[in-house]
Symmetry: C2
Subunit: 111 residues, 2 copies
Amino acid sequence: MEKNVNTENVRAQMRKGVLEYCILLLLAKEDAYASSIITKLKEANMIVVEGTLYPLLIRQKNQGLLQYRWEESPQGPPRKYYAITDKGREQLEEMNNAWHEIVTTIENIKN
Amino acid sequence: MEKNVNTENVRAQMRKGVLEYCILLLLAKEDAYASSIITKLKEANMIVVEGTLYPLLIRQKNQGLLQYRWEESPQGPPRKYYAITDKGREQLEEMNNAWHEIVTTIENIKN
DNA sequence: AACCAATACCTTGCAAGACAAAGTACCAAA
DNA sequence: TTTGGTACTTTGTCTTGCAAGGTATTGGTT
């Protein structure tokens, strides 16, 4: 049991660095609203919670990487659909490079 | 120029999650002291500064992942050589798994 | 002896970010 | 009109990265 807690910490730590990257990757494929992003990331094993995601989306929007529009929901309150901007795609390019570099670096350290 | 600053931020963000992992990877190969760890990581493109590394080493030592011994230096003050412990190797195992999982997850999200 | 440069280690204060938890709001069906 | 489901938002706490400044040891120079 204790081991599982520890394992979760390790994974959580590593996820932090790539969260923004994952959001942009997802939104580059299709627009989405926060709750659906959480579901998608959970399916992909990348757990995020609301208290993390909402501020993050707002930050990325303020940086001009994302924009949003309101859209009615078939059930419940309207949804805030986020879409990636041109600037966001540029940033995604950078992140692709950065990610590739990190993966390479780790391989190098491992030898 | 602005782009470079941004690029650095992106890289810094991603490095964060794997720093502890890198330390354990290095120390699993051979004992080392803080300054030499900084040099090695810099060579591997994984920039760390003293204010980050010292607290991190102390944290890992307090978690029982590392231990240290003093050793005289050919020049200058004595060095604090860190060595990985059995518990540290267990943790490294976990981190290897976690890292592998993250890499796979990103690939999945990319499709 | 006094000073300096190089090498090491350590601490402080700030800022960013992850997350748990609690709160607000909308809608439809019972 | 109350309940349950969906969705968005905020607050407070804790951790962590890092710039900047500080302390200590050694060997060579003046």
